[in-house]
Symmetry: C2
Subunit: 87 residues, 2 copies
């Protein structure tokens, strides 16, 4: 499954969340990571993130696409992470 | 089509980009908006955003889903915009 992760967390927790997320997904731009994950890896990512965020203040959203057949990505401006285009 | 917009723009242009985006999509969290758009409205949104960003410095990504049948959204922490759950 293809996962897009966007996060809006307190500045003092950004580094922790980003370090965890980068183990599983590719950094795309500020607060946005993407990548192909197995169900098991996705569960591990969520558990690790849950341990470092403040559930009362921070927000982390995962958009999960079972198939990318019906999805595409369009960019205006620069692509902050020049990468092989999956989506 | 369902559109997720994420933006990483210079602080001095954030308000302009957000004001434009809010005419078309719903604010979800910092730098993230979502919503159902027609092709025509999506084109207008892109043109308006193009006029205010600096294409050499800013990055705006649109994830377009022709159908949301194969997609879902999961949230950790708080939902910064309590809204009716479409995705």
């Amino acid at each position: 499954m293809y996962v897009i992760m966007v996060y809006d967390v307190n500045q003092k927790r950004v580094a922790k969340v980003l370090n965890i997320a980068r183990k599983y997904l590719e950094w795309i731009q500020n607060s946005v990571l993407e990548g192909e994950l197995t169900e098991a890896k996705f569960e591990r990512l969520k558990r690790e993130v849950e341990l470092v965020i403040d559930e009362e203040e921070d927000s982390v959203i995962f958009y999960i696409m079972r198939t990318i057949k019906y999805s595409e990505r369009q960019i205006l401006g620069i692509e902050k992470n020049k990468r092989e285009q999956i989506l």
